[in-house]
């Protein structure tokens, strides 16, 4: 683990709004080619932190280096090597998926074939559909396709699975793991701990703008167990979601 190279390094990040401090002195590193989870309750400062790294928001103080570029001086260079999926972002109205991908290709100055991008996220059948007409899972997969256009080194996914049904969620996990295996670093936020446990190589818990724990999910769980924690209920070998998937099938519906 120690030999891994940090692709994002955040040092003493502070973001202060008029009346409250959203991010207090955050320090962490994201390693190359891992899935890094930022976990925490709503309003903990996850999205703010992501948006500062993505160069979409000004920080109050601190230092951030993304693949050797500083957010202060080389924001433009950073934008070229990252892919961003925003929470609840819409897309240009009245355009179909292929046209939207053409637009993003132009914005990134990338030569990509829209159909190939759609195939990557298994949406080739929806080429002529409008974004608004997609299901929740399809929308998220399309958003991820737009983040891959510039063949980024890092992609940021802000709560990509919120509101999806179990099948769509698992389907998206597979996609995210594929992207990581293809060599891209993934930074993700989520409210779902089972998701973080299955998906993330390392997770950071953020609370009131501070990191309160950072490690691999395994280590964090072990630490808790070693401290004498026990679940009230005996853990079974399957949970209710497994039952749901078993009953309704793994097949993903539109």
């Amino acid at each position: 683990m120690e030999t891994k190279k940090a692709i994002i390094s955040v040092k003493n990040l502070v973001k202060q709004y008029d009346d409250f401090v959203a991010v207090q002195n955050l320090t962490f590193e994201v390693y190359e080619n891992e899935i890094f989870g930022l976990l925490g309750p709503n309003g903990a400062g996850k999205t703010t932190t992501l948006e500062i790294i993505e160069t979409l928001r000004e920080k109050t103080s601190g230092e951030i280096i993304v693949d050797g570029f500083s957010v202060d001086k080389q924001a433009q260079n950073i934008k070229k090597i990252i892919g961003v999926q925003l929470q609840a972002a819409g897309y240009y109205p009245n355009l179909n998926l292929v046209e939207l991908l053409e637009l993003f290709a132009g914005l990134y100055g990338a030569d990509v074939k829209p159909m190939e991008m759609l195939e990557k996220v298994n949406l080739q059948d929806k080429a002529k559909a409008k974004y608004k007409g997609l299901s929740g899972g399809q929308k998220q997969r399309f958003s991820i396709a737009t983040t891959l256009i510039n063949q980024p080194k890092i992609i940021f996914l802000d709560e990509p699975t919120t509101g999806l049904d179990p099948q769509a969620r698992r389907n998206l996990w597979d996609l995210i793991i594929e992207i990581r295996d293809a060599g891209t670093t993934v930074v993700i936020t989520t409210h779902y701990m089972d998701e973080a446990e299955q998906l993330c190589d390392r997770v950071a818990f953020v609370e009131r703008g501070q990191i309160i724990a950072l490690d691999t999910p395994d280590n964090l769980i072990d630490q808790l167990v070693n401290s004498g924690f026990e679940r009230k209920k005996e853990v079974k070998k399957a949970n209710l979601e497994d039952v749901f998937i078993n009953l309704t099938g793994k097949e993903w519906r539109e």
Binding site: E54, T55, A89, Y91, P93, E102, L103, F104, L107, Y108
Partner: protein
């Protein structure tokens, strides 16, 4: 990685925006359908209240019973105090419907009345003719009028469409510029589309320019469409043919750029989409009504005219009519262009202050 191209990004945006506009029903309705419906209605309706403008030839006797009687009819507006050359132009365009020259006959108490009609306004000329004939046989007047001499000059026919179409064109440009721009930037901001764009290397100027190219392109296509429909189906006069069309397109470009400035301002001050129509109407309605879209602003009461003369659409309409019907070149309407440019500078100065990206 190869060099990033701002131009490519700008055109990708322009293309996307243009596609989006073409598929947006409201844009098509405001830019094309409304103006065409008005052209249709007014084209068939003809002008409203009837006036006959009669110029008095310089040097004509004014204190004679004929002119007095003409004034009493209430239908005839006498136009005085213009030079012969001015009158000739007005007559040719049909801006005055006829000229009258009254002289006392040599060695006689009776008057000689000389009337010149214009083919540019034959219908009104005919009405004047019958009015004069009635006067001529009027018992009180008869002894003092010896003769009425009539002749007709050849002028260009000025049709209702020649007045209505430039006004509708201006209105189309106004609504495309104001509503379209305001809605698009507000909704792009609210749905975080712009925020997503900011996560790409695209420059802010590319976003504005790309949108602008698409909007202007669409407005000009609409303008061309209206001009051609007007010309081929309603006989809209284009004095110098294609050259006139090009001049009109140049004016339309200037107009829509100025009007888009209002749109940028509105997108900045509107809190949500439902606030766009009321604010936009504050901008468009007064211009729609007061800028000579339907009626010549000369028909407005004199206290209203200064307001009309303050509005940018007035000058666009004015310039369009001069170019289309009188065959004026762009240099001939430099005053109107100057006023539009001044408006543009003022509007964009405000837009830069109030426009919001997020």
């Amino acid at each position: 990685m190869k060099q990033y191209s701002n131009t490519k990004a700008t055109f990708a945006l322009a293309k996307a925006s243009f596609r989006s506009i073409m598929r947006s029903p409201s844009a098509v309705v405001f830019t094309l359908a409304f103006p065409l419906i008005f052209i249709l209605v007014f084209g068939f309706l003809g002008g409203g209240g009837m006036h006959i403008d009669v110029g008095i030839t310089p040097g004509s006797d004014l204190k004679n019973p004929v002119i007095g009687m003409l004034e009493k009819t209430g239908m005839i507006r006498l136009v005085k105090n213009k030079s012969k050359a001015d009158f000739d132009k007005l007559l040719e365009k049909g801006n005055v419907d006829a000229m009258i020259d009254v002289h006392r006959k040599v060695n006689s108490v009776a008057y000689s009345v000389n009337i010149v009609y214009t083919s540019a306004s034959m219908d009104k000329g005919n009405i004047l003719k019958s009015v004069l004939n009635n006067l001529f046989y009027d018992k009180n007047l008869k002894p003092s009028v010896a003769e009425i001499k009539e002749s007709t000059v050849h002028g260009r026919e000025y049709k209702t469409i020649d007045f209505i179409l430039p006004g509708q064109l201006g209105f189309s440009l106004l609504s495309t510029g104001v509503f379209g721009t305001a809605f698009v930037f507000l909704s792009l901001r609210q749905t975080l589309v712009i925020k997503r764009f900011f996560a790409t290397p695209v420059k802010r100027s590319s976003i504005v320019i790309g949108e602008g190219i698409a909007r202007i392109g669409f407005a000009l296509l609409g303008a061309l469409f209206i001009i051609l429909i007007g010309h081929f189906f309603f006989g809209f006069t284009l004095v110098h043919g294609p050259v006139t069309v090009i001049n009109m397109i140049v004016l339309a470009t200037l107009g829509v750029i100025v009007f888009m400035g209002f749109g940028f301002i509105i997108s900045g001050i509107a809190k949500n989409e439902s606030m766009v129509p009321p604010i936009s109407n504050i901008v468009t309605l007064p211009q729609f009504l007061l800028s000579g879209t339907f009626f010549s602003i000369e028909a407005f009461p004199s206290w209203l005219q200064p307001i009309s003369r303050a509005l940018p659409l007035t000058y666009l309409n004015d310039a369009m009519r001069k170019v289309a019907f009188e065959g004026a070149g762009l240099w001939d309407v430099k005053f109107q262009i100057m006023i539009l440019v001044i408006w543009g500078i003022g509007i964009y100065a405000v837009a830069v202050k109030v426009f919001k990206w997020e």
